[in-house]
């Protein structure tokens, strides 16, 4: 058990009972989401874990030890911390920001630099380009990335994240969520993740702790929260479009079609027509010699030229194997495409996701709900 809360209570000096006898446990490597409406005590609960807010009742155990018995600065240096306002230091470069905790821990400079470079690459930023920049030179999304990198600075086993992707546009947020989940697959940190967004909670959490007015209402897997709500509050909070939210639980790789007929860009249009007839379909995915996705070609367009590349439709709208179906669906709806190519990071074609597949998945999750 990495983190254990035992009847944790917080009464602020002004008498506000922000957290009331909350108990839950987070296993090592798990991502636990604290979810609930604004003011329900999520931030307070989280900050009691690194003792930024003193606990007034109950106990918090970190790795089996009573957290109040530890040196608070030592404790905090071993718990990564990322907050919504990001809190990057404007007078320090990106590299210095990321090196904050390593520097507090007395790492030599060369090691700090190496670590900052590693972490920048990990969060998808070119280290050579960004390491010496100042926060004022970064975009909002880049700041959030650096914030996450800084939290990972000294490779702490635990991460606390308070609405880390809160202050950015929805498209960047989805991308950062996806990237973070991918990173988490490798680094396997124990994470407390605060959000008030049910979609984000379902998508990110191994477990979700739903809070209301300082109390823990349900602590469960996202699926159970959706399909086995404990009471009316949970049901209301989850909301009516439960089936759509259920799509958050399914990733493209679970449902995509991976064997699909393709055609190369510099093949003859005739060859494409033959392949379509063979397979009994009226479109093909176009790739280059390296198997990288280029676009689509439809039967109707084949007559317009000799080579496939002359008649194909190029497209840049793609998903990855880790995209959740909910987001794939909204991408389809907004782009008007019935099929989305699934590509790897270097744009290599891995499969295809069709509207039919999503519809089938939607039917399945709705039935799952009724059978509960």
């Amino acid at each position: 058990m990495m983190i254990k809360l035992d009847l944790v209570t917080k009464v602020y000096p002004d008498g506000t009972e922000a957290v009331k006898e909350v108990s839950f446990e987070v296993e090592a490597g798990e991502l636990c989401v604290l979810l609930g409406p604004s003011g329900c005590g999520k931030t307070t609960t989280m900050k009691m874990i690194n003792r930024l807010i003193p606990i007034t009742g109950g106990k918090i155990y970190i790795n089996g030890g009573d957290s109040t018995k530890m040196n608070e600065n030592e404790l905090r240096r071993n718990i990564g911390y990322a907050i919504q306002d990001i809190g990057l230091f404007p007078h320090m470069t990106v590299g210095q920001n990321i090196g904050t905790v390593p520097s507090l821990k007395g790492w030599p400079k060369a090691e700090r630099n190496k670590r900052a470079e590693e972490l920048l690459e990990l969060v998808g930023m070119n280290s050579g380009e960004f390491i010496d920049k100042y926060p004022s030179e970064l975009s909002g999304g880049q700041c959030q990335r650096v914030g996450v990198a800084r939290a990972l600075g000294a490779d702490p086993p635990i991460l606390l994240m308070d609405e880390p992707f809160g202050a950015i546009d929805p498209i960047t947020r989805v991308r950062l969520q996806d990237e973070f989940l991918k990173i988490q697959q490798d680094i396997k940190k124990t994470i407390i993740f605060v959000t008030h967004d049910i979609y984000e909670a379902i998508k990110m959490g191994d477990k979700v702790a739903l809070m209301k007015e300082g109390q823990l209402v349900q602590y469960d897997t996202p699926a159970n929260l959706l399909y086995r709500p404990k009471n009316e509050f949970v049901e209301d909070f989850v909301g009516a479009d439960r089936a759509l939210k259920g799509l958050q639980l399914i990733r493209v790789k679970e449902v995509m079609t991976s064997s699909l007929p393709t055609v190369k860009a510099d093949e003859k249009a005739e060859a494409a027509r033959e392949r379509m007839e063979q397979e009994g379909i009226d479109w093909l995915v176009v790739v280059n010699d390296d198997g990288k996705f280029l676009g689509w070609v439809g039967k109707a367009e084949l007559g317009k030229g000799e080579l496939v590349k002359e008649v194909m439709n190029s497209s840049a709208i793609t998903v990855t194997v880790n995209t959740v179906l909910n987001e794939a669906l909204s991408l389809m709806l907004s782009s008007g495409a019935n099929n989305l190519p699934v590509v790897s990071k270097d744009n290599r074609l891995q499969g295809v996701l069709s509207f039919d597949i999503i519809r089938k998945a939607l039917t399945e999750v709705s039935q799952r709900r009724q059978s509960e």
Binding site: L75, R76, Y81, I83, P90, H91, M92, T100, S136, R150
Partner: protein, 221 residues
Amino acid sequence: MLGAWEYLVKHPEKLAGWALEHLWIILVAITIAIILGVIVGIYITGRGKEHMADTVLYLAEIMMTVPSLALFGLLMLLLTSVGLKAIGFLPAVIALIIYGQLPILRNTYMAIRGVDPAMIEAGKGMGMTERQLLVKVKLPLAVPVIMAGLRNAIVIIIGIAAIAALIGAGGLGAPIFRGLRNARMDLIILGGVSVSILALLVDAFMNQVERWVTPEGLKRR
């Protein structure tokens, strides 16, 4: 005007002497005022010292309102009673330090208190001690505001230093007061213009200093 120019051409060594005296007095006063003001300013931002901060800032404000002649008089009395030299350099420097305190103290205090709470929380959350938080986060972020206070103090000090000639401290006030006593317009103008030029030069220098000490990341905004 012409008279002042002629005097300058005839006795350049005199003007240089007054200017150097003036510079020396303000240099000593400013150095001590900065050290004192910044240290006290930081000290009173500490936890549980709100009351002390109010008192200190109030005192500094009152000191500012005491007319400089009265302050010189008081200092002379005080220094005589403890057996120190009551005229010249010492009382002048002490008075200037006192006048420089308010802008430095107040700006240091406000700058440090005004640091974005998110910065402080980030620092604490990563395990900084109070001292590390001060040195690595609060002070660097406070530099621009502290510098503004400093420049303010310097302008005040340069001006008041001219009056210090009255208590025998010399400097560019000397020709002014001598001119006043003997109705010598040329001396008055020479002294007055020199004080202004000195203030401009020192301000230009402080501009450069500000560029040196402001953290890189805070400049580009």
